[in-house]
Symmetry: D2
Subunit: 358 residues, 4 copies
């Protein structure tokens, strides 16, 4: 193993380079993973645009698939050479938030044990996965062996996209027989659609414009596809549900417009599950919010993490319950990551997700 | 029984009179109650001000305590002369919403069985309780005998104030050991404080300015009282919780300011339970909403209703778990209801709730 | 309409005849349905054997598909001639139990509003569905229009088998990624398998011996089939789960043996969901029950009912999420119901469910 | 610090001595606590009697209050000299069970991450707390600073008795207005009574014979006390609830008799929450279990653990919500622990809990 490695480094708004960094030192609770596949997330684009602040100099990326290169002295239960993933969220396990089941808001190291977004460390507060090697903190809570027979590409969506998308369905507590609308069918929206289907929704309406995404949405479980460029989504939903509205609306874009549509699409007493990363204040219109008297629930989900979550998601993939391979539309090597960012950031060439191989 | 009765009639924004109406006819599923005590709600003031629309000519009021005068031909299980209450919310029991447990959004008579605020009928869509007699629809789902030994005044808060206030704590799923903030200590806020205490909150912080309300808040279970005129509530909460924030924030006023304070007071992953009746759009500031990534829950509650709810609340009162008698600060006869509205609507004389006796 | 009708009458243990009864009178809250299809349930066999007591002279059967013949004077929202089903469980909507969401234990008419099995009336406490006509009490809470395009046979399992089977999965609170075992693949077990699949179980293990049932189980979602005649089910489950055990075990037979297997198959902290109708005391072996220290949950489900439940189930069928048509292995006319009972009661001819047409 | 210490050593059934052991070595993730107060649990008596198997030579006891003596090299966030408790259950935080929120069944070190009772380590699988020093594994998940102003005695019940007792109420999901019965008012039953009260039960019925315990039960929140030596408890409960039964029955003794009473006391659809440590198979009588058709839930709870749980419980104590000091009826020094076991094991002298000071 060399002592230098390639890393995708954020230099400041709009500036990103594939540079060189030392291979990290491995502390007693850490593990070093050699990355075999990773990908770029919409959140990385927010970072690149300066819409979400991270420190210049940080390696970005939070979706790792790899092989254990080295284990910390206090880490047991794993072997070097083992194929593993970790979630985008790497909870400590031992923070108060984590012990309370709120892994994404893990406050390891804070006085009281809770920290907003604290479970998201890779490419946010510590070096991330778009590199040759990745240092995994609290390794025993996070390293998850890949079941035999699953390829890197098959599990590439588990760390973030699948966990977040399904998480949006779970947070909404979808029940058998529910009618569900999902706003936007990007990678996370598509996984939310899959989640609604997996939880027993009887009727799933997705709102999307791009034909390629609409086609994949149907494969993920959508029953109705509404093109917002052709029909007002709320009217369409009321038409389809004969005036009732949906039990659950999942917002998977991150805009006021989709949030508001989602709220207006709900039946009284319905649940809005938000998966968007917003860049502006969100407004709840008085009428849509029923003056606060509609028994509405609005829930937000960062991304569930930790090795038990990853184990469960890979079991779902292994049993064929969901197939995320259609989401990987492009492949690049790490050397070409700047090109990959250009394609992904500008949504060129019908891109959904890009697999990056170091 | 005369065939005419007194009734508090809404004539249009700002206009209300004690007029005369015929005593209602009793249909097969109905019951007629002779009102022995009722009260005025903040929502009635919204109606009077024209902020919440109801049809001119309607009798208002939705908090009835009374005696069964006459039962519909298909109603069994009750006796004339029995002392009863019904909730402010009178679910049908048989609508889809009601069968699904969502009584406040009961859609009896609609094609699909759900209707926004549909469970709230008295003084909203049918004649209400500030009158000599009240016609109760779907009587078997709503008439609730008053346990022996409880006075009218003791149960007067059950139909709305106590059900709503406790409902805000319940919807937030407060757990033993939680820290809870309650914004505003009007009648509903005070009952939310009682609800937080009843569900095991270890530390309750209330935000209120009026000394009389602060004093009652302490009796209802508040551990800390923050006067927003003296200290910024969010700073105070962060000081008291040593930077952690609260697990649950209950908004009981209905303003952007209190809603926003509530959101900012939450720990990551916390729950905002809203009980306010809003008159404006609500804004979720980007930072307070953690860009949608804070695993927040926002829940709203109209008011749980139906006879099982009322039975439970009166059991709570009967066992002394909560004493709402301190909330009744004034007594008036029905003949003086216009004066009562003047005092209550202008919050004169430290008024909390006014008991009205026909 | 004639004033006499055919009815399947229980005369006492072991004795059942197709006899004649008057067509029922319709009270104000009732509806009369002309049965177009019904079926025989395992519970009917319990009744016939004298294992579950009902009054001699009662018409049995609780799974109705039909057409509205006549509506009670106080019933609105339906039309005569409409195709409908009602659940096997017909909650009042207005009992305390029903208002609390516990429809199957509806205590309509009792002093306190709860009654064990009280929601199950057809063929238990009032005349049932294996007849030309059926009187439906509390019609507005129970009549559910059949969506256009669905045949009688497609919805025949909704009143009981599908509602109960899915109910077992729901009561267990199956989560995405769970491993689930289902003990016995009779009609209800098969629907429990479908329910586990619909709720996102990643791996489903069924325990069954009959090859025909094993084949259908795979179509309903089973990943592994264990033949208890060949391999000890608990050992097989531990082999398949590599020693972990299952998150949820569903017992769908009603015997000590299967109950005990289910308990032993659980991982620590797992949930046993029982759907069986037992005829003997159930024993929790000390070791399997972990001396009471295993954080186990044991939940039982009678059968969820009411029109909102039926609406949801038919939505599930309409969208193709589950296909129960494979469960109907035989067809008979009402005139031949005694033969049908003979085949079903003795499990001849690979019978699963028998559709009966009057 | 000496290198030898006193320790209460289990030698085999019926045999226990205060012996000498080396002070433990501190590994990187561990902490060493100097015990300042501990106590004896009913489970220790089970161990002593040979009813629950542990390895001869083990130091027993699992309820530690102490001072941090030494921290492992990888442990941060604490200081030597700090006053702390840890739960009786010491989850790893990083096992699959722990990450899934099931701390008491933590499977740290097992292949799949779940282990029956695995979270209970002190005095079960590793040396326990009835000694001068205690080695705490996974210290960062378990060490919990004692809030200023709380004495050792005030927090002594938190590690086990209070956590378990409240846990029984929580697992039952008690709601505001419930009627609850608690069977047996030993230390855990008394805390279950407190838990029922803290969660909003409107009416609490306890079943106990000893007058001293009955008196404390009333202080913990009981409304009715039934002496099983005078009246059949099930009859008494049906009398008090006017035939309805209780929503929740908590079994806190660990015998067939109390378990069966609890089951029979339930209303249809009620929940039995079991806290007992059983020494025999448990039988569910067919009628009491409603042939499996009663929509019953039976839940068991070992004891919630981890530092967030302990923090919450001490917050409850600090705010005066519950006062467990009445449970400590005796004080002994560690040198007299054999006498303490004799008194506690034979329930002499109205003993409830014995505080032991090294």
């Amino acid at each position: 193993m060399a002592d230098k490695m390639r890393a995708t480094i954020f230099l400041g708004p709009g500036r990103l380079v594939l540079g060189e960094k030392p291979v990290p030192e491995v502390g007693p609770l850490d593990a070093l993973i050699r990355i075999t596949m990773t990908t770029i997330c919409g959140t990385d684009i927010h970072i690149l645009k300066g819409e979400y602040p991270v420190a210049p100099g940080l390696t970005i990326g939070h979706e790792p698939v790899g092989v254990i290169e080295k284990l910390g002295s206090a880490v047991s239960g794993y072997e070097e050479g083992q194929r593993v993933i970790t979630g985008a969220i790497t909870p400590s396990g031992w923070s108060n938030a984590s012990l309370d089941g709120c892994h994404a808001q893990c406050g390891a190291g804070t006085p009281h044990g809770w920290k907003a977004l604290g479970g998201w460390r890779f490419g946010n507060t510590i070096d991330g996965a778009q590199a040759d090697y990745l240092l995994v903190p609290d390794a025993m809570a996070n390293l998850t062996p890949i079941p035999d027979g699953l390829t890197d590409e098959q599990v590439l969506m588990c760390p973030d996209i699948l966990s977040t998308g399904l998480g949006g369905a779970e947070a909404a507590k979808i029940r058998i027989g529910d009618t569900v609308a999902v706003f936007a069918q990007g990678p996370i929206g598509l996984c939310a659609t899959a989640g609604a289907r997996m939880m027993g929704a009887a009727e799933i309406i997705v709102i999307e414009h791009l034909p390629e995404r609409c086609a994949i949405a149907r494969r993920m479980g959508a029953d109705h596809v509404v093109d917002f460029a052709i029909e007002d989504p709320v009217s369409a939903i009321m038409r389809i549900t004969r005036g009732r509205g949906v039990d659950v609306a999942i917002e998977a874009l991150g805009k006021q417009q989709t949030f508001e549509w989602a709220l207006r699409a709900l039946r009284p007493g319905g649940t809005l599950s938000s998966l968007g990363v917003y860049s502006e204040d969100i407004r709840l219109p008085l009428d849509a919010f029923a003056a606060g008297l509609g028994d509405h629930r609005i829930v937000t989900t960062l991304c569930p993490g930790g090795k038990e979550r990853m184990r469960r998601l890979m079991a779902v993939v292994a049993s064929g319950r969901v197939d995320t391979s259609a989401l990987v539309t492009h492949h690049f090597s790490l050397d070409d990551i700047e090109t990959a960012y250009d394609i992904f950031g500008h949504q060129r060439d019908n891109v959904l997700k890009i697999a990056i191989r170091p």
